[in-house]
Symmetry: C2
Subunit: 228 residues, 2 copies
DNA sequence: GTTTTGCAAACTGTTGACAATATGATCGGG
DNA sequence: CCCGATCATATTGTCAACAGTTTGCAAAAC
Protein backbone atom coordinates (compact mmCIF):
# COMPACT_ATOMS: atom_id res chain seq x y z
CA UNK A 1 0.00 0.00 0.00
CA UNK A 2 2.79 2.32 0.93
CA UNK A 3 4.56 1.24 -2.21
CA UNK A 4 1.52 1.93 -4.29
CA UNK A 5 1.26 5.40 -2.84
CA UNK A 6 4.88 6.22 -3.47
CA UNK A 7 4.55 4.86 -6.98
CA UNK A 8 1.52 7.07 -7.58
CA UNK A 9 3.31 9.98 -6.04
CA UNK A 10 6.26 9.42 -8.30
CA UNK A 11 3.97 9.20 -11.29
CA UNK A 12 2.19 12.36 -10.26
CA UNK A 13 5.49 14.07 -9.68
CA UNK A 14 6.71 13.08 -13.10
CA UNK A 15 3.48 14.30 -14.65
CA UNK A 16 3.80 17.80 -13.33
CA UNK A 17 7.51 17.58 -13.55
CA UNK A 18 9.42 18.51 -16.63
CA UNK A 19 12.79 19.75 -15.62
CA UNK A 20 11.50 23.31 -15.51
CA UNK A 21 9.20 22.49 -12.61
CA UNK A 22 11.93 20.82 -10.61
CA UNK A 23 14.22 23.77 -11.19
CA UNK A 24 11.44 26.15 -10.20
CA UNK A 25 10.87 24.45 -6.88
CA UNK A 26 14.57 24.31 -6.21
CA UNK A 27 15.18 27.99 -6.88
CA UNK A 28 12.11 28.95 -4.87
CA UNK A 29 13.51 27.04 -1.90
CA UNK A 30 16.85 28.79 -2.30
CA UNK A 31 15.19 32.19 -2.23
CA UNK A 32 12.75 31.56 0.61
CA UNK A 33 15.41 29.91 2.74
CA UNK A 34 17.42 33.09 2.49
CA UNK A 35 20.30 31.42 0.66
CA UNK A 36 20.05 34.34 -1.74
CA UNK A 37 19.45 37.61 0.05
CA UNK A 38 17.00 40.24 -1.23
CA UNK A 39 18.72 42.40 -3.83
CA UNK A 40 21.23 39.70 -4.68
CA UNK A 41 21.76 38.86 -8.32
CA UNK A 42 21.04 35.42 -9.70
CA UNK A 43 23.33 34.40 -12.51
CA UNK A 44 21.66 32.20 -15.12
CA UNK A 45 24.65 30.13 -16.07
CA UNK A 46 25.81 29.73 -12.49
CA UNK A 47 22.44 28.39 -11.41
CA UNK A 48 22.12 26.22 -14.48
CA UNK A 49 25.50 24.60 -13.90
CA UNK A 50 24.80 24.24 -10.22
CA UNK A 51 21.54 22.42 -10.93
CA UNK A 52 23.05 20.43 -13.75
CA UNK A 53 20.70 21.76 -16.43
CA UNK A 54 20.78 24.20 -19.28
CA UNK A 55 19.78 27.86 -19.09
CA UNK A 56 16.34 27.23 -20.59
CA UNK A 57 14.61 25.71 -17.57
CA UNK A 58 16.28 28.29 -15.34
CA UNK A 59 14.84 31.09 -17.43
CA UNK A 60 11.40 29.44 -17.27
CA UNK A 61 11.63 29.38 -13.49
CA UNK A 62 12.71 33.03 -13.44
CA UNK A 63 9.60 34.05 -15.36
CA UNK A 64 7.34 32.25 -12.91
CA UNK A 65 9.06 33.60 -9.82
CA UNK A 66 9.01 37.08 -11.28
CA UNK A 67 5.26 36.80 -11.84
CA UNK A 68 4.85 35.63 -8.26
CA UNK A 69 6.71 38.70 -7.07
CA UNK A 70 9.77 36.93 -5.71
CA UNK A 71 12.21 38.11 -8.36
CA UNK A 72 12.88 41.40 -10.04
CA UNK A 73 13.85 41.29 -13.71
CA UNK A 74 15.77 44.11 -15.35
CA UNK A 75 16.19 43.78 -19.11
CA UNK A 76 19.74 43.10 -20.20
CA UNK A 77 20.85 43.30 -16.61
CA UNK A 78 19.57 40.14 -15.05
CA UNK A 79 17.32 38.97 -12.25
CA UNK A 80 17.57 39.86 -8.58
CA UNK A 81 15.82 38.66 -5.47
CA UNK A 82 12.95 41.09 -4.93
CA UNK A 83 13.57 43.72 -2.30
CA UNK A 84 10.53 44.13 -0.08
CA UNK A 85 10.67 47.51 1.57
CA UNK A 86 8.84 48.45 4.70
CA UNK A 87 6.30 50.21 2.52
CA UNK A 88 5.84 47.12 0.36
CA UNK A 89 5.42 44.95 3.42
CA UNK A 90 2.61 47.17 4.68
CA UNK A 91 0.85 46.86 1.34
CA UNK A 92 1.20 43.08 1.29
CA UNK A 93 0.00 42.80 4.87
CA UNK A 94 -3.09 44.85 4.08
CA UNK A 95 -4.01 42.56 1.20
CA UNK A 96 -3.21 39.49 3.24
CA UNK A 97 -5.46 40.75 6.02
CA UNK A 98 -8.32 41.09 3.57
CA UNK A 99 -7.75 37.67 2.03
CA UNK A 100 -7.32 35.93 5.35
CA UNK A 101 -10.36 37.67 6.76
CA UNK A 102 -12.30 36.53 3.73
CA UNK A 103 -11.13 32.97 4.31
CA UNK A 104 -12.44 33.17 7.86
CA UNK A 105 -15.70 34.61 6.64
CA UNK A 106 -16.21 31.86 4.07
CA UNK A 107 -15.16 29.13 6.46
CA UNK A 108 -17.60 30.37 9.08
CA UNK A 109 -20.42 29.59 6.67
CA UNK A 110 -19.40 25.97 6.15
CA UNK A 111 -17.11 24.81 8.91
CA UNK A 112 -17.43 21.16 9.90
CA UNK A 113 -17.03 19.76 13.40
CA UNK A 114 -13.89 17.94 12.25
CA UNK A 115 -12.36 21.21 11.07
CA UNK A 116 -13.31 22.91 14.30
CA UNK A 117 -11.70 20.09 16.27
CA UNK A 118 -8.50 20.40 14.25
CA UNK A 119 -8.29 24.13 14.89
CA UNK A 120 -8.97 23.74 18.58
CA UNK A 121 -6.23 21.12 18.80
CA UNK A 122 -3.79 23.51 17.17
CA UNK A 123 -4.86 26.21 19.62
CA UNK A 124 -4.04 23.95 22.55
CA UNK A 125 -0.68 22.98 21.10
CA UNK A 126 0.19 26.60 20.52
CA UNK A 127 -0.74 27.41 24.09
CA UNK A 128 1.66 24.71 25.17
CA UNK A 129 4.47 26.01 23.01
CA UNK A 130 3.73 29.53 24.22
CA UNK A 131 3.91 28.50 27.87
CA UNK A 132 7.31 26.92 27.21
CA UNK A 133 8.44 29.95 25.21
CA UNK A 134 9.33 27.44 22.54
CA UNK A 135 9.46 29.48 19.34
CA UNK A 136 10.79 26.58 17.31
CA UNK A 137 7.63 24.65 18.09
CA UNK A 138 5.28 27.62 17.82
CA UNK A 139 6.05 28.72 14.26
CA UNK A 140 5.07 25.56 12.40
CA UNK A 141 1.90 25.32 14.45
CA UNK A 142 1.10 28.91 13.66
CA UNK A 143 1.57 28.27 9.96
CA UNK A 144 -0.51 25.10 10.17
CA UNK A 145 -3.31 27.05 11.85
CA UNK A 146 -3.50 29.67 9.13
CA UNK A 147 -3.12 27.12 6.36
CA UNK A 148 -5.89 24.99 7.83
CA UNK A 149 -8.27 27.93 7.74
CA UNK A 150 -7.35 28.99 4.24
CA UNK A 151 -7.48 25.53 2.71
CA UNK A 152 -10.48 24.62 4.83
CA UNK A 153 -12.64 26.90 2.74
CA UNK A 154 -12.20 24.50 -0.19
CA UNK A 155 -11.36 27.50 -2.34
CA UNK A 156 -8.09 26.68 -4.10
CA UNK A 157 -7.70 30.13 -5.59
CA UNK A 158 -8.10 31.74 -2.21
CA UNK A 159 -5.42 29.48 -0.77
CA UNK A 160 -3.11 30.13 -3.70
CA UNK A 161 -3.55 33.87 -3.36
CA UNK A 162 -2.95 33.82 0.38
CA UNK A 163 0.13 31.61 0.22
CA UNK A 164 1.58 33.77 -2.53
CA UNK A 165 1.30 36.83 -0.30
CA UNK A 166 2.87 34.99 2.61
CA UNK A 167 5.87 33.95 0.54
CA UNK A 168 6.39 37.53 -0.57
CA UNK A 169 6.41 38.62 3.04
CA UNK A 170 9.07 36.03 3.72
CA UNK A 171 11.41 38.27 1.74
CA UNK A 172 10.78 41.09 4.19
CA UNK A 173 11.36 38.98 7.24
CA UNK A 174 14.35 37.30 5.63
CA UNK A 175 16.47 40.25 6.56
CA UNK A 176 17.65 38.52 9.67
CA UNK A 177 15.27 39.34 12.45
CA UNK A 178 13.73 37.11 15.03
CA UNK A 179 10.28 38.62 15.62
CA UNK A 180 9.42 36.60 18.68
CA UNK A 181 7.68 39.20 20.79
CA UNK A 182 4.01 39.09 21.48
CA UNK A 183 3.08 35.63 20.37
CA UNK A 184 1.09 35.29 23.53
CA UNK A 185 -1.22 37.95 22.17
CA UNK A 186 -1.19 36.17 18.87
CA UNK A 187 -2.83 33.08 20.27
CA UNK A 188 -5.46 35.14 22.01
CA UNK A 189 -6.39 36.45 18.61
CA UNK A 190 -6.41 32.91 17.26
CA UNK A 191 -8.98 32.00 19.88
CA UNK A 192 -11.16 34.90 18.84
CA UNK A 193 -11.08 33.63 15.28
CA UNK A 194 -12.04 30.11 16.25
CA UNK A 195 -14.80 31.43 18.49
CA UNK A 196 -16.33 33.32 15.59
CA UNK A 197 -15.94 30.28 13.33
CA UNK A 198 -17.60 27.99 15.84
CA UNK A 199 -20.38 30.53 16.22
CA UNK A 200 -20.74 30.45 12.42
CA UNK A 201 -20.69 34.22 12.39
CA UNK A 202 -19.19 35.32 9.04
CA UNK A 203 -18.85 39.01 9.85
CA UNK A 204 -17.26 38.42 13.23
CA UNK A 205 -14.94 35.86 11.65
CA UNK A 206 -13.81 38.33 9.03
CA UNK A 207 -13.16 40.99 11.62
CA UNK A 208 -11.22 38.60 13.82
CA UNK A 209 -9.10 37.32 10.93
CA UNK A 210 -8.51 40.79 9.51
CA UNK A 211 -7.59 42.19 12.91
CA UNK A 212 -5.22 39.30 13.59
CA UNK A 213 -3.16 39.92 10.48
CA UNK A 214 -3.17 43.66 11.08
CA UNK A 215 -1.93 43.04 14.60
CA UNK A 216 0.79 40.82 13.15
CA UNK A 217 1.75 43.63 10.84
CA UNK A 218 1.99 46.03 13.77
CA UNK A 219 4.17 43.58 15.71
CA UNK A 220 6.59 43.13 12.81
CA UNK A 221 6.78 46.84 12.10
CA UNK A 222 7.44 47.61 15.71
CA UNK A 223 10.25 45.08 15.91
CA UNK A 224 11.86 46.27 12.71
CA UNK A 225 11.48 49.96 13.40
CA UNK A 226 14.83 50.10 15.13
CA UNK A 227 16.62 48.38 12.28
CA UNK A 228 16.14 50.94 9.54
CA UNK B 1 8.97 69.38 -21.38
CA UNK B 2 6.54 67.33 -23.39
CA UNK B 3 9.47 66.12 -25.39
CA UNK B 4 11.32 65.18 -22.27
CA UNK B 5 8.32 63.20 -21.09
CA UNK B 6 7.89 61.32 -24.32
CA UNK B 7 11.58 60.60 -24.35
CA UNK B 8 11.36 59.23 -20.84
CA UNK B 9 8.28 57.25 -21.75
CA UNK B 10 10.03 55.73 -24.72
CA UNK B 11 12.98 54.91 -22.56
CA UNK B 12 10.76 53.36 -19.99
CA UNK B 13 8.93 51.40 -22.65
CA UNK B 14 12.19 50.07 -24.01
CA UNK B 15 13.31 49.19 -20.55
CA UNK B 16 10.37 46.91 -19.84
CA UNK B 17 10.28 45.70 -23.38
CA UNK B 18 12.37 42.78 -24.54
CA UNK B 19 10.64 40.69 -27.12
CA UNK B 20 9.25 38.37 -24.46
CA UNK B 21 7.26 41.19 -22.92
CA UNK B 22 5.79 42.25 -26.23
CA UNK B 23 4.83 38.68 -27.01
CA UNK B 24 3.30 38.31 -23.55
CA UNK B 25 1.05 41.32 -23.97
CA UNK B 26 0.07 40.18 -27.44
CA UNK B 27 -0.90 36.67 -26.40
CA UNK B 28 -2.74 37.99 -23.36
CA UNK B 29 -4.82 40.19 -25.63
CA UNK B 30 -5.58 37.26 -27.88
CA UNK B 31 -6.83 35.21 -24.97
CA UNK B 32 -8.86 37.88 -23.21
CA UNK B 33 -10.42 39.04 -26.46
CA UNK B 34 -11.72 35.54 -26.95
CA UNK B 35 -9.73 34.95 -30.12
CA UNK B 36 -8.72 31.70 -28.51
CA UNK B 37 -11.59 30.02 -26.72
CA UNK B 38 -11.22 28.34 -23.31
CA UNK B 39 -9.93 24.80 -23.78
CA UNK B 40 -8.36 25.61 -27.12
CA UNK B 41 -4.79 24.54 -27.69
CA UNK B 42 -2.05 27.05 -28.38
CA UNK B 43 0.64 25.76 -30.67
CA UNK B 44 4.07 27.14 -29.89
CA UNK B 45 5.44 27.19 -33.41
CA UNK B 46 2.22 28.55 -34.89
CA UNK B 47 2.18 31.46 -32.48
CA UNK B 48 5.89 32.06 -32.88
CA UNK B 49 5.64 32.23 -36.67
CA UNK B 50 2.51 34.34 -36.44
CA UNK B 51 4.27 36.85 -34.22
CA UNK B 52 7.48 36.67 -36.21
CA UNK B 53 9.65 35.46 -33.35
CA UNK B 54 11.24 32.26 -32.18
CA UNK B 55 9.69 29.80 -29.76
CA UNK B 56 11.69 31.07 -26.80
CA UNK B 57 9.79 34.28 -26.10
CA UNK B 58 6.52 32.45 -26.68
CA UNK B 59 7.45 29.89 -24.05
CA UNK B 60 8.38 32.71 -21.65
CA UNK B 61 4.95 34.24 -22.14
CA UNK B 62 3.31 30.86 -21.59
CA UNK B 63 5.00 30.51 -18.22
CA UNK B 64 3.77 33.90 -17.11
CA UNK B 65 0.22 33.39 -18.30
CA UNK B 66 0.13 29.97 -16.70
CA UNK B 67 1.20 31.50 -13.40
CA UNK B 68 -1.52 34.11 -13.75
CA UNK B 69 -4.06 31.34 -14.24
CA UNK B 70 -4.95 32.11 -17.83
CA UNK B 71 -3.32 29.05 -19.36
CA UNK B 72 -3.21 25.39 -18.47
CA UNK B 73 0.06 23.57 -19.14
CA UNK B 74 0.15 19.82 -19.57
CA UNK B 75 3.65 18.33 -19.82
CA UNK B 76 4.49 17.00 -23.24
CA UNK B 77 1.01 17.88 -24.41
CA UNK B 78 1.07 21.61 -24.69
CA UNK B 79 -0.73 24.64 -23.35
CA UNK B 80 -4.45 25.35 -23.47
CA UNK B 81 -6.57 28.34 -22.60
CA UNK B 82 -7.72 27.75 -19.05
CA UNK B 83 -11.24 26.44 -18.70
CA UNK B 84 -13.06 28.26 -15.93
CA UNK B 85 -15.92 26.12 -14.76
CA UNK B 86 -18.93 27.40 -12.92
CA UNK B 87 -17.36 26.07 -9.74
CA UNK B 88 -14.09 27.89 -10.45
CA UNK B 89 -15.96 31.09 -11.19
CA UNK B 90 -17.66 30.94 -7.81
CA UNK B 91 -14.28 30.52 -6.13
CA UNK B 92 -12.76 33.43 -8.01
CA UNK B 93 -15.76 35.65 -7.27
CA UNK B 94 -15.51 34.89 -3.57
CA UNK B 95 -11.86 35.92 -3.49
CA UNK B 96 -12.58 38.94 -5.63
CA UNK B 97 -15.34 39.98 -3.25
CA UNK B 98 -12.93 39.86 -0.34
CA UNK B 99 -10.21 41.76 -2.18
CA UNK B 100 -12.58 44.39 -3.51
CA UNK B 101 -14.21 44.77 -0.12
CA UNK B 102 -10.75 45.23 1.36
CA UNK B 103 -9.99 47.90 -1.21
CA UNK B 104 -13.14 49.74 -0.18
CA UNK B 105 -12.23 49.38 3.47
CA UNK B 106 -8.73 50.75 2.96
CA UNK B 107 -9.92 53.55 0.72
CA UNK B 108 -12.51 54.61 3.28
CA UNK B 109 -9.68 55.38 5.66
CA UNK B 110 -7.88 57.70 3.28
CA UNK B 111 -10.20 58.89 0.53
CA UNK B 112 -9.59 62.40 -0.74
CA UNK B 113 -12.24 64.82 -1.90
CA UNK B 114 -10.84 64.58 -5.43
CA UNK B 115 -11.25 60.82 -5.40
CA UNK B 116 -14.76 61.14 -4.05
CA UNK B 117 -15.60 63.60 -6.80
CA UNK B 118 -14.27 61.22 -9.44
CA UNK B 119 -16.37 58.36 -8.13
CA UNK B 120 -19.49 60.48 -7.92
CA UNK B 121 -18.95 61.61 -11.51
CA UNK B 122 -18.73 58.00 -12.63
CA UNK B 123 -21.92 57.24 -10.71
CA UNK B 124 -23.76 59.98 -12.56
CA UNK B 125 -22.44 58.82 -15.91
CA UNK B 126 -23.48 55.25 -15.18
CA UNK B 127 -26.95 56.45 -14.23
CA UNK B 128 -27.14 58.16 -17.60
CA UNK B 129 -26.02 55.04 -19.45
CA UNK B 130 -28.45 52.99 -17.41
CA UNK B 131 -31.37 55.26 -18.24
CA UNK B 132 -30.53 54.91 -21.94
CA UNK B 133 -30.08 51.16 -21.57
CA UNK B 134 -26.74 51.74 -23.22
CA UNK B 135 -24.70 48.69 -22.29
CA UNK B 136 -21.83 49.68 -24.56
CA UNK B 137 -21.38 52.86 -22.55
CA UNK B 138 -22.04 51.26 -19.19
CA UNK B 139 -19.35 48.58 -19.20
CA UNK B 140 -16.27 50.77 -19.51
CA UNK B 141 -17.66 53.12 -16.87
CA UNK B 142 -18.29 50.17 -14.59
CA UNK B 143 -14.72 48.97 -15.05
CA UNK B 144 -13.41 52.48 -14.48
CA UNK B 145 -15.37 52.71 -11.25
CA UNK B 146 -13.94 49.53 -9.81
CA UNK B 147 -10.46 50.31 -11.02
CA UNK B 148 -10.59 53.78 -9.50
CA UNK B 149 -11.41 52.29 -6.11
CA UNK B 150 -8.77 49.60 -6.27
CA UNK B 151 -5.96 51.85 -7.48
CA UNK B 152 -7.16 54.68 -5.28
CA UNK B 153 -5.92 52.81 -2.25
CA UNK B 154 -2.37 53.38 -3.44
CA UNK B 155 -1.72 49.71 -2.82
CA UNK B 156 -0.18 48.34 -6.02
CA UNK B 157 -0.24 44.74 -4.85
CA UNK B 158 -3.92 44.99 -4.03
CA UNK B 159 -4.63 46.34 -7.49
CA UNK B 160 -2.50 43.67 -9.13
CA UNK B 161 -4.28 40.94 -7.21
CA UNK B 162 -7.71 42.30 -8.02
CA UNK B 163 -7.05 42.78 -11.71
CA UNK B 164 -5.59 39.30 -11.96
CA UNK B 165 -8.81 37.85 -10.58
CA UNK B 166 -10.90 39.92 -12.96
CA UNK B 167 -8.95 38.72 -15.97
CA UNK B 168 -9.44 35.13 -14.88
CA UNK B 169 -13.17 35.71 -14.69
CA UNK B 170 -13.04 37.04 -18.21
CA UNK B 171 -12.44 33.44 -19.28
CA UNK B 172 -15.71 32.40 -17.70
CA UNK B 173 -17.73 35.14 -19.30
CA UNK B 174 -15.97 34.65 -22.61
CA UNK B 175 -18.25 31.77 -23.39
CA UNK B 176 -20.51 33.99 -25.40
CA UNK B 177 -23.11 35.40 -23.10
CA UNK B 178 -24.46 38.87 -22.79
CA UNK B 179 -25.10 39.34 -19.06
CA UNK B 180 -26.93 42.60 -19.33
CA UNK B 181 -29.68 42.09 -16.80
CA UNK B 182 -29.86 43.91 -13.54
CA UNK B 183 -27.36 46.67 -14.07
CA UNK B 184 -29.86 49.05 -12.60
CA UNK B 185 -29.39 47.23 -9.29
CA UNK B 186 -25.69 47.32 -9.85
CA UNK B 187 -25.51 51.09 -9.74
CA UNK B 188 -27.62 51.18 -6.61
CA UNK B 189 -24.93 49.07 -4.99
CA UNK B 190 -22.28 51.42 -6.36
CA UNK B 191 -24.01 54.28 -4.58
CA UNK B 192 -23.97 52.36 -1.33
CA UNK B 193 -20.23 51.88 -1.71
CA UNK B 194 -19.58 55.56 -2.35
CA UNK B 195 -21.81 56.52 0.55
CA UNK B 196 -19.76 54.39 2.91
CA UNK B 197 -16.53 55.77 1.46
CA UNK B 198 -17.70 59.34 1.85
CA UNK B 199 -18.74 58.56 5.41
CA UNK B 200 -15.20 57.19 5.95
CA UNK B 201 -16.72 54.07 7.45
CA UNK B 202 -14.30 51.18 6.76
CA UNK B 203 -16.54 48.38 7.94
CA UNK B 204 -19.56 49.60 6.02
CA UNK B 205 -17.37 50.12 2.96
CA UNK B 206 -16.12 46.56 3.14
CA UNK B 207 -19.61 45.20 3.47
CA UNK B 208 -20.88 47.28 0.57
CA UNK B 209 -18.00 46.28 -1.68
CA UNK B 210 -18.17 42.63 -0.69
CA UNK B 211 -21.93 42.51 -1.17
CA UNK B 212 -21.67 44.20 -4.56
CA UNK B 213 -19.33 41.57 -5.97
CA UNK B 214 -21.39 38.78 -4.45
CA UNK B 215 -24.48 40.25 -6.06
CA UNK B 216 -22.60 40.36 -9.34
CA UNK B 217 -21.73 36.72 -8.91
CA UNK B 218 -25.38 35.88 -8.33
CA UNK B 219 -26.41 37.80 -11.44
CA UNK B 220 -23.90 35.99 -13.63
CA UNK B 221 -24.75 32.60 -12.21
CA UNK B 222 -28.42 33.20 -12.75
CA UNK B 223 -27.90 34.21 -16.35
CA UNK B 224 -25.67 31.27 -17.12
CA UNK B 225 -27.74 28.69 -15.29
CA UNK B 226 -29.78 27.96 -18.38
CA UNK B 227 -26.73 27.41 -20.54
CA UNK B 228 -25.27 24.35 -18.85
C1' DG C 1 44.78 63.51 -8.83
C1' DT C 2 40.41 63.29 -11.15
C1' DT C 3 37.64 62.48 -15.03
C1' DT C 4 36.71 60.63 -19.43
C1' DT C 5 37.16 57.49 -23.16
C1' DG C 6 37.96 53.12 -25.22
C1' DC C 7 38.41 48.20 -24.90
C1' DA C 8 37.69 43.51 -23.28
C1' DA C 9 35.24 40.16 -20.70
C1' DA C 10 30.88 38.55 -19.05
C1' DC C 11 26.19 38.12 -19.31
C1' DT C 12 21.59 38.28 -21.21
C1' DG C 13 18.26 37.74 -25.24
C1' DT C 14 17.28 35.14 -29.07
C1' DT C 15 17.59 31.67 -32.31
C1' DG C 16 18.01 27.13 -34.47
C1' DA C 17 18.86 22.23 -33.89
C1' DC C 18 18.46 17.75 -31.50
C1' DA C 19 16.08 14.37 -28.48
C1' DA C 20 11.93 12.60 -26.30
C1' DT C 21 7.13 12.16 -26.16
C1' DA C 22 2.39 12.13 -27.80
C1' DT C 23 -0.88 11.81 -31.70
C1' DG C 24 -3.06 9.67 -35.58
C1' DA C 25 -3.34 6.59 -39.35
C1' DT C 26 -2.52 2.24 -41.35
C1' DC C 27 -2.20 -2.57 -41.16
C1' DG C 28 -3.03 -7.08 -39.21
C1' DG C 29 -5.75 -10.11 -36.28
C1' DG C 30 -9.97 -11.65 -34.14
C1' DC D 1 -16.86 -5.57 -39.32
C1' DC D 2 -14.48 -4.09 -35.21
C1' DC D 3 -10.49 -3.85 -32.16
C1' DG D 4 -5.61 -3.57 -31.08
C1' DA D 5 -0.68 -3.04 -32.36
C1' DT D 6 2.85 -0.66 -35.08
C1' DC D 7 4.86 3.01 -37.40
C1' DA D 8 5.11 7.83 -39.35
C1' DT D 9 4.27 12.51 -38.22
C1' DA D 10 3.97 16.42 -35.42
C1' DT D 11 4.89 18.78 -31.25
C1' DT D 12 7.06 19.69 -27.00
C1' DG D 13 11.33 19.73 -23.90
C1' DT D 14 16.05 20.61 -23.77
C1' DC D 15 20.34 22.14 -25.20
C1' DA D 16 24.20 24.64 -27.44
C1' DA D 17 25.66 28.53 -30.21
C1' DC D 18 25.30 33.42 -31.88
C1' DA D 19 24.32 38.41 -31.41
C1' DG D 20 23.69 42.51 -28.67
C1' DT D 21 24.19 44.86 -24.37
C1' DT D 22 26.20 45.96 -20.08
C1' DT D 23 29.97 46.23 -16.84
C1' DG D 24 34.48 46.84 -15.16
C1' DC D 25 39.17 48.03 -15.95
C1' DA D 26 42.81 50.52 -17.85
C1' DA D 27 44.89 54.08 -20.26
C1' DA D 28 44.90 58.76 -21.67
C1' DA D 29 43.58 63.54 -21.29
C1' DC D 30 42.72 67.47 -18.43
Amino acid sequence: MAQLNTALDALDLLKTSSLSRVVLVEIEKMILSGLYAPGEKLNEKNLADRLGVSRGPVRDAFQVLHTRGLLEMIPNRGVFVQQVTRHDAVAIYDVRAGVFGTACRLLAERITSAQSAELNLLLAQMDGAGADRDLEAYFPLNIAFHTAIVTGTGNAILAETYLGLVSRLQLFRARGLLYGGGFANSNIEHRAIVAALDARDPRAAFEAGFAHVQAGKARILKETSAHE
